[in-house]
Symmetry: C2
Subunit: 127 residues, 2 copies
């Protein structure tokens, strides 16, 4: 990648994101990376999360509740937001390519893609 240099901090952010199944916020990434690099700054975390998301190495999830979350798995997949505990879980389902076709019908622009977020009660909260 042109003009991008390695940095320990970015590597640590990437490592943390890939080590968890949670979908942490920038703040959570910050506190966890700080366990190994006690003086990374929050700005560094934000800057690198943005960079990694733009490069397509991680996913950014905007769930509409406060802060964005990030996912170390960049392969497109769908997410579920629990309205009980606010946790975000991965869903095992195939890409819904057909809905882009449905959206394109009768629309005079170009549909390039979509984001979907499911909501409800997670396994723990449904009790």
């Amino acid at each position: 990648m042109a003009g991008v240099k390695f940095s320990r901090q970015r590597q640590a952010i990437m490592d943390y994101l890939c080590s968890t199944k949670e979908h942490p916020t920038a703040e959570t990434v910050y506190t966890n990376v700080r366990l190994h690099y006690p003086n990374v700054s929050l700005g560094t975390v934000y800057r690198n999360l943005n960079l990694l998301a733009e490069e397509g190495e991680i996913l950014r999830l905007t769930c509409g509740d406060g802060s964005d979350r990030f996912d170390g798995n960049p392969k497109p997949h769908y997410h579920f937001l629990c309205n009980g505990c606010q946790r975000v879980l991965d869903l095992a389902m195939e890409p819904l390519n057909h809905i882009d076709i449905l959206a394109a019908a009768g629309f005079d622009g170009i549909i390039e893609g979509h984001t979907v977020l499911f909501h409800g009660k997670c396994p723990d909260c449904k009790k």
Copy 2:
């Protein structure tokens, strides 16, 4: 609605939202309502937009780009965000009820619903 009183300001917000096909932000609602009521405050706009959204009289759209937008049409429908001009357009497509079933397969929680946002180039920007 118990404990809710009429107010000219809320009515003006509602009127404006119903008069436009755009999907304005709180700030845009504010500047437009101010044309008729020059001293409504931004706080009043936010408070009423939240109230109306909770009552189900309007829709709140979280597109992940800066601020939330609002739609005077409360009937569930899908939206398109242009990555050229950032405009949000309505799409004419039926509710995708089946995707909740797909999501529920292999998921041990309860899927209550979903939000979808399509993106691409709007009719103007595709040229």
